[in-house]
């Protein structure tokens, strides 16, 4: 590649990525040369500034036509823009949690990494939204994963944190290996790593043997990626990792990492397998695999919601809750309705708001009490009405009651399930497990509002937490009452 062709590319479409990359470089150097005594929290604020700048750059790009550069390995289309926005917003909120985080033990010396590793993970996720090639997709995925492994274990002297990182890295590697194995079949069948080209070649596959191989590849890729979604069968890491990792990292894993997981699943499912190996009777391979997807979605919802009932640790409970939400999102994927991308996007938006808000409350409470037992939420209404009411609204949204974004998100998925060919069983499981989820979400409510407090001390809310709570509550209610704000915005892109 000569310098001339390199300069011909429309690099401006990568501005948000470049900004994040620049901030990472800057932070690494600053961390290196800054004297030890300076509080590294400043790096966190710089990261927030970087994320805001990247968002601004993305906004300025919203009007651009779909553009591909670097021989179709990087594409900025509506899909990329809309999900990138989610990732940036999610990571921004997580950074606010991170600057308010007080680790208490085992971390002070490593603060610097704590901030810029979030950014490298974010960069990986952003590349995934835009990549048009299996290689860049995979590199983005690995950048995200490896940064998250370190983040989970960043409390170096804390046993739980170490266990969490260890479990995460081992499970993650296995999952990645499976995904990669699946991808190798796809490459073997088509001889290309470019998604558009793969889709093109696969639509011509008619050979029964090849179809079989393709089905296998599909399942392997999907099963491997279910690790990132925290959905069955690769969900078992979630409770341990969520419990052991520092709260901002848990929040990051449950929101940004999950969003990135759905990004890659949709990319591969829709662009590669949607028209693959069409046959006269049942349509493409994706439609033939439909029952497996439905089964995994159902199992994910059931495991997530039922096991959450038994949890006494709030972070573990939220891990299972996050598994359950992955299951709802898989329902949207399974039904393949016309508004699939939109309903996944909206649900992830709603989920980001309510989950990050809830983690903000969890962070404050666990820091104060030193444990993450649900029983420690007892009497929160007495100790801090603001925190309790905020958490109440977010829990109501998580449970999917009307008036909140969580309801609109579920309704959206639900409508999709009945459109076209109706999925009665899957929809019934979804709604039945939703009712089951009332038990554990309202269990926290019971503690906060009905039970007496163990101690009466009040809470001081750091600035970062207040920002997250305001954004989360206002967003959850606003998108619940007037969801068209988000819808129209998306349609204008």
């Amino acid at each position: 590649m000569s310098l001339e062709t390199l300069s011909e590319f429309n690099w401006s479409v990568m501005t948000p990525e470049f900004i994040i990359l620049g901030v990472i470089a800057l932070l690494t150097l600053l961390d290196l040369f800054m004297p030890k005594r300076i509080d590294r929290r400043i790096l966190g604020w710089l990261s927030i500034a970087g994320i805001i700048a990247a968002m601004a750059a993305l906004f300025s790009l919203l009007g651009t036509e779909p553009t591909s550069i670097l021989y179709d390995t990087f594409t900025l289309d509506m899909f990329g823009k809309s999900f990138k926005l989610l990732l940036l917003a999610g990571a921004g909120l997580v950074m606010f949690l991170a600057v308010s985080y007080d680790a208490k033990e085992g971390m002070e010396d490593y603060r610097g990494e704590f901030y810029y590793l979030f950014l490298t993970a974010l960069l990986g996720a952003m590349f995934m939204t835009s990549s048009g090639d299996l290689i860049t997709l995979f590199i983005g995925l690995e950048l995200l994963s490896i940064s998250s492994y370190i983040l989970a274990g960043i409390k170096k002297h804390n046993l739980k944190s170490n266990e969490s990182a260890m479990k995460y890295v081992i499970n993650g590697s296995i999952a990645t290996a499976i995904t990669l194995f699946g991808m190798s079949y796809v490459y073997g069948l088509t001889g290309s790593t470019n998604l558009a080209e793969i889709a093109n070649k696969l639509s011509a596959v008619v050979d029964g043997q090849h179809t079989y191989l393709l089905g296998l590849a599909f399942l392997m890729i999907f099963v491997g990626l279910s690790f990132k979604l925290a959905s069955a069968p690769f969900h078992m890491w979630a409770p341990d990792v969520y419990q052991g990792a520092p709260t901002p990292v848990t929040a990051f894993l449950s929101v940004v990492s999950k969003t990135a997981g759905f990004v890659i699943v949709i990319r591969i499912l829709i662009s590669v397998f949607f028209n693959a190996a069409p046959s006269g009777d049942g349509g493409s391979i994706l439609f033939k695999m439909h029952d497996y997807l439905a089964f995994l979605a159902a199992v994910t919802m059931i495991i997530g919601n039922v096991v959450a009932l038994k949890q006494t640790n709030i972070k573990r409970m939220f891990a299972y809750s996050s598994i359950a939400h992955a299951g709802y999102l898989l329902v949207a994927l399974t039904t393949l309705s016309a508004n699939l991308i939109f309903s996944v996007w909206f649900y992830l938006l709603a989920y980001m708001l309510m989950n990050l808000g809830a983690f903000a409350v969890i962070q404050v409470v666990t820091e104060k009490t030193g444990s993450a037992e649900i029983a420690d939420f007892a009497g929160l209404y007495r100790r801090s009405p603001v925190l309790a009411v905020t958490m109440g609204i977010l829990l109501v949204s998580l449970a999917g009651f009307p008036g909140t974004a969580g309801f609109i998100g579920k309704l959206n998925i639900f409508v999709g399930a009945f459109y076209g060919e109706p999925h009665y069983v899957l929809a019934s499981i979804m709604i039945a497990t939703t009712v089951v989820s009332y038990f554990y979400y309202f269990g926290v409510m019971t503690q906060m509002f009905f039970r007496p407090a163990r101690e009466e001390s009040k809470f001081n809310l750091p600035f970062g937490i207040i920002v997250v709570l305001i954004v989360a509550v206002v967003g959850s209610v606003l998108f619940g009452v007037a969801p068209n704000i988000a819808l129209d915005f998306l349609n204008k892109m």
């Binding site: 899909f79 939109f342 109706p422 009665y424 709604i431 969801p483």
Partner: protein, 503 residues
């Protein structure tokens, strides 16, 4: 005059109270109670004005409002909305009557709450007002999604009102309320979604029209399945035996002011749903099921009555009596003729008033004597003659004494069923005798029964307490003596329903 925003103001007027309450300090008990009470007044006044509007011969359709609200589109600028929900409120005669009932009971319950609620008034009244928004919305919503949204909005405040301000087993009661009703509304949502996917609309009037059209894209079996699902969804709410166990817990454990609302209004949502959606949208299938519904009604009536007879706690007597009386609603509906349906609707209103009255009295008795056991309350008439008098009058209304609202409704419901299914109706009449038996046993046992302790020290009803009792009693008698105050607004609704059944 443009009345389009009237209904929105009616439904959301309690919101003003919530906002004001949010800024009041927690400790100012008096002020909070006054604001909480006053916040229910605008809805009451508007509801009464709408009633007068109707009685002066003007059209209720003036109130209808319809605006685009949510539109889901597929991505990539698909012009046709994938799914849209309009914000549609309207008032028919039936809805008007229920809105007035809601507004009246809500105001009286706020008065009662000022009396009965002993802690955290601020939270109580904010939740209570939210509940009122939900109830008013349920009865004015014109499309199923909006109905569902308001329906779910009633769940959360009720959960907290029971769980925080209730008696000993309040949390258990709150949970079983939440889960049973959650399951009920889950079934309801599935029905709504199937209807939407098949017809492309959730507007109630339009759905009724589409279903009446023989070329509708739904098979008869599917319609029957949907109606049975609706029967389950609203059967939880009504409640229909065997889906009733949650309701007993709620009636015993919830604070009296909440039970007034719960028994007076919330249970009636089940009846409203069955009539408006079950009968309104699937008239033919309703006819197919009418024998089943009649039998369910008789079971409810007898089961409730028999169990009410052996209860020792007066609250339990009233709870089973509610089940029994909801059986009469089902009996009236199963008749599928004008008298029957009218009787059912009358029963809905009448029971709303009577149970609100009786539960208020129970609340007063419990507050004065720390017990609601019939045995322990023997001879209460000596200490509290006025309360005992109203208790007796309420019981008379409940057992259907002529001249009171209970009589009109029971009489018409049975009249209807005797025309259609005389044998089932004949079995049902046993229930009426039982009703008289258990109510008299309980009430006489309390008022004139053997006295175990002296009630000379306890205070009788006085001051503000007389307002809820007086108003409710007045309404019960007015409906009993002049049934036309109710039947005239219901006329057009009944005609529409009859048209659906006949065609």
């Amino acid at each position: 005059m443009n009345l389009q925003s009237t209904l929105s103001i009616l439904v959301f007027s309690p919101l003003l109270g919530i906002i004001v309450l949010a800024f009041l300090p927690k400790q100012s008990e008096k002020l909070i109670k006054v604001v909480g009470f006053l916040a229910t007044i605008p809805a009451l006044l508007i509801a009464l004005a709408a009633y007068l509007h109707f009685q002066w011969g003007k059209d209720l359709a003036d109130f209808a409002v319809s605006k685009a609200w949510i539109q889901f589109r597929g991505m990539g600028g698909v012009p046709e909305p994938f799914f849209s929900v309009n914000y549609e409120l309207a008032l028919s005669g039936f809805q008007l009557v229920l809105v007035v009932l809601t507004a009246v009971v809500a105001t009286l319950s706020a008065l009662a709450a000022a009396k009965f609620v002993k802690k955290e008034w601020k939270g109580y009244f904010m939740l209570f007002l939210l509940l009122e928004i939900g109830m008013l919305g349920v009865f004015t919503a014109e499309n199923l999604i909006l109905f569902f949204i308001f329906f779910e909005i009633t769940l959360i405040p009720t959960f907290f009102l029971i769980g925080k301000w209730g008696y000993f087993e309040k949390e258990k009661a709150a949970y079983s309320f939440l889960i049973y009703n959650g399951l009920g509304s889950a079934v309801l949502l599935i029905v709504i979604m199937i209807l939407f996917a098949k017809t492309g609309t959730t507007n109630i009037e339009m759905l009724a029209q589409i279903m009446a059209d023989p070329s509708a894209p739904l098979s008869g079996d599917l319609k029957l399945g949907l109606l049975i699902s609706l029967l389950i969804a609203f059967g939880v709410k009504l409640p229909i035996f065997p889906l009733h166990s949650w309701m007993l817990k709620v009636h015993v454990q919830a604070p009296p002011s909440v039970v007034m609302i719960h028994s007076g209004i919330l249970l009636k949502i089940g009846a409203y749903g069955l009539i408006r959606f079950g009968m309104g949208i699937f008239p033919e299938q309703f006819k197919t099921l009418s024998i089943l519904i009649a039998i369910l009604g008789v079971i409810n009536l007898l089961y409730g009555a028999f169990l009410a007879f052996i209860q020792t706690d007066f609250k339990m007597v009233l709870a089973y009596s509610s089940i029994s009386h909801m059986g009469i609603v089902l009996i009236g509906l199963a008749a599928m003729n004008e008298a029957g349906v009218q009787g059912a609707i009358f029963q809905v209103i009448s029971h709303g008033l009577i149970s609100a009255l009786l539960f208020f009295l129970v609340g007063v008795l419990y507050e004065r004597t720390d017990t609601s056991l019939i045995g322990n309350l023997g001879g209460i008439a000596k200490g509290m003659p006025i309360a005992a008098g109203f208790l007796l009058a309420g019981a008379m209304a409940s057992l259907g004494l002529p001249g009171m609202s209970g009589f009109v409704s029971e009489f018409m419901a049975f009249l209807g069923l005797f025309k259609e299914l005389p044998w089932i109706a004949a079995v049902g009449t046993i229930g009426i005798i039982m009703t008289a038996a258990y109510l008299l046993r309980a009430v006489l046992g309390m008022t004139y029964g053997k006295s175990h302790r002296e009630f000379t020290g306890v205070l009788d009803l006085k001051g503000v307490e007389l307002i809820p009792v007086g108003v409710l009693m007045l309404l019960i008698v007015v409906i009993g003596v002049f049934p036309s105050v109710l039947s005239s607004p219901l006329q057009t609704t009944l005609e529409t329903i009859m048209l659906g059944i006949g065609g």
